[in-house]
Symmetry: C2
Subunit: 354 residues, 2 copies
């Protein structure tokens, strides 16, 4: 069996004030009416109709509403993606020792869904044919220093057309390296999507994160006995103690047999208000607007409002976001600095707005 495992554990401060502790980014309808999570489930349906969502315990109900047919695993605590994917793999091998996981972040945007589906099919197929971990490498459209990159190696025609070895992973590069990567053509963005047999993933965890593997084994033993209550108890006991590390850093970078399928399908990590702005059309005057908004004598502004109206006069290059009970104003090219606002609100005793 194939199973799409959707990692929906993000805390989502990067799109504050639209994203909140109680409503992370995957539950936002960014530039449309469908939430990012619902869109993620929908576009995987043709390739991997079995869906498992791993999310925070207090997000289970919201996730169920967005993905009625999915199996939902609750994390007793946020322990990052290596633990979350390990938990999913543990559940899947108990159902099918040959299960193949396709792991996807819950909060990405895809512009060309047909192209996305074809690339995902190739990646699943590679993981089914060979003893490999397949990933998707995204053709870069800018010298992005905020993403991890991967360097392509030789073609792996044995695993299907368009499959390559990964020579190495590159953590967030500096600007010079990122520019060279774009020019060189052998480097791709790591989109955080992985395809691997569940049993192979657990073996990698055993090798690289043995304490995590040992904890997961306790859960797996209960599942193997068909004892759901014991499995839940083991999860509650074990999971909060697992090391918090990403699947990229904790497993992929040191794993053997990693291959990549290059793809280009209008992908966005929706990682900042500037990224959201790129998903929306310019209003013809050099501004991007969502919701009732007017801009007088200004350009390069990004204005979002989920209610009411926002009016800008004589300002340029600003991101102005009104969502719920909060308003955020910062330069659009400092959209990464939402974190600073979140920290300041916490320091000011205003964390009720987070």
């Amino acid at each position: 069996m194939r199973c799409a495992v959707i990692l929906a554990g993000g805390s989502g401060t990067r799109l504050w004030p639209a994203s909140r502790r109680a409503r992370p980014k995957q539950f936002l309808a960014v530039g449309g009416v469908e939430t990012l999570l619902a869109a993620t489930v929908r576009r995987l349906h043709a390739v991997a109709p079995d869906v498992m969502i791993v999310t925070a315990a207090d997000q289970v109900a919201a996730a169920r509403a967005e993905a009625p047919g999915a199996v939902i695993l609750a994390e007793p605590a946020a322990r990052n993606t290596a633990a979350a994917l390990g938990l999913a793999a543990t559940h899947l091998v108990a159902r099918d020792p040959d299960a193949v996981i396709g792991a996807f972040p819950a909060d990405q945007h895809v512009g060309d869904e047909a192209a996305f589906g074809a690339v995902v099919e190739r990646a699943f197929s590679a993981a089914e044919r060979g003893d490999v971990i397949a990933t998707i490498g995204l053709t870069p459209t800018r010298p992005e220093t905020g993403f991890g990159w991967l360097e392509l190696g030789g073609a792996r025609l044995d695993l299907g057309a368009g499959v390559h070895d990964v020579a190495r992973f590159v953590e967030k590069p500096d600007a010079a390296h990122a520019a060279a990567f774009v020019a060189g053509g052998r480097h791709l963005w790591n989109g955080g999507m992985f395809f691997v047999r569940a049993a192979r993933l657990l073996a990698e965890l055993e090798r690289q994160l043995p304490a995590t593997a040992a904890g997961l084994r306790e859960i797996g033993l209960a599942l193997a006995r068909g004892d759901a209550a014991a499995a839940a108890a083991a999860t509650a006991a074990v999971y909060p103690g697992l090391v918090s590390v990403s699947i990229d850093h904790g497993v992929m970078e040191q794993a053997s047999g990693v291959v990549a399928v290059p793809g280009s399908f209008g992908w966005s990590d929706v990682g900042s208000w500037a990224a959201v702005a790129e998903l929306l059309a310019d209003d013809g005057n050099g501004n991007v607007r969502s919701g009732d908004a007017v801009v007088v004598d200004g350009s390069g502004n990004v204005v979002f409002t989920d209610r009411g109206v926002v009016a800008l006069v004589g300002v340029s290059g600003l991101a102005v976001v009104r969502a719920g009970d909060a308003v955020l104003v910062l330069p659009a090219d400092r959209a990464q600095d939402v974190r600073a606002a979140v920290d300041a609100l916490t320091a000011a005793g205003l964390s009720r707005y987070l």
Copy 2:
């Protein structure tokens, strides 16, 4: 009798979005808990306990709530201050032929109320002693080009200490003249407060705005008969046809016997968000904030919010106002340009937010 006539007909777009069509500036509590109108009534109480408010028909209930003891006259249509003050004078002479009016805008701020009271007392007294129109000239604190000014003439000790002839009125000067006025010391801001016998004001209207005077006479005849219903009918019939002109431009500039009492009492016309900011204390980091707000890495910002929170990161010199269902962002030194936002909203079919 003395009567404080409070002109509360302003439409108040300059403080949008806090001020709205349905809630003009005089009904805002700027920098406090008391509305500007309530504060105006309160600080006049010791000098002129009789209060008459002239306001728009649809603001009568709101005005009554702010000033329970006042007589309230409803304008069937907005016809500016010459007509409004003429209407008040017509009502007052019917009650007392010797009535003396002190006319005050409803939406100003006074920092030093004791000093204000002393100056108002002098101005009332001058109008009671002589056949003059007294005004208050405010000691300028900056070369303001947005106000009208007046030039002091010789002392009028016959009318009391501190009373001077007004040599002339100067409409909004250019920057060079305004700077010269501040340096010269003979020019004062015209604060829009006037003190005159009601009968004398009606005589000036007769001379300078005879059609207005004729219209008001119809109302006055009904009032002289004690026929309130006929007076109301005459007001409804006559008032909308009166010429719309300010008392300054329509009467004062050409009137004879105008005197001024110089004063300095922390006066503000509260005419823009920048003016509001001057009434509030700096937060110690070069920003002015009202309501829940944080500013990270920025200075010279003015942030007002009537609910929720506003967060600024990496921006300086902005006015950011959240009030009701609207948010306004503009440079603090372009605070006069709120009008542009109001016009743009109207043009965009969003006048429901005004």
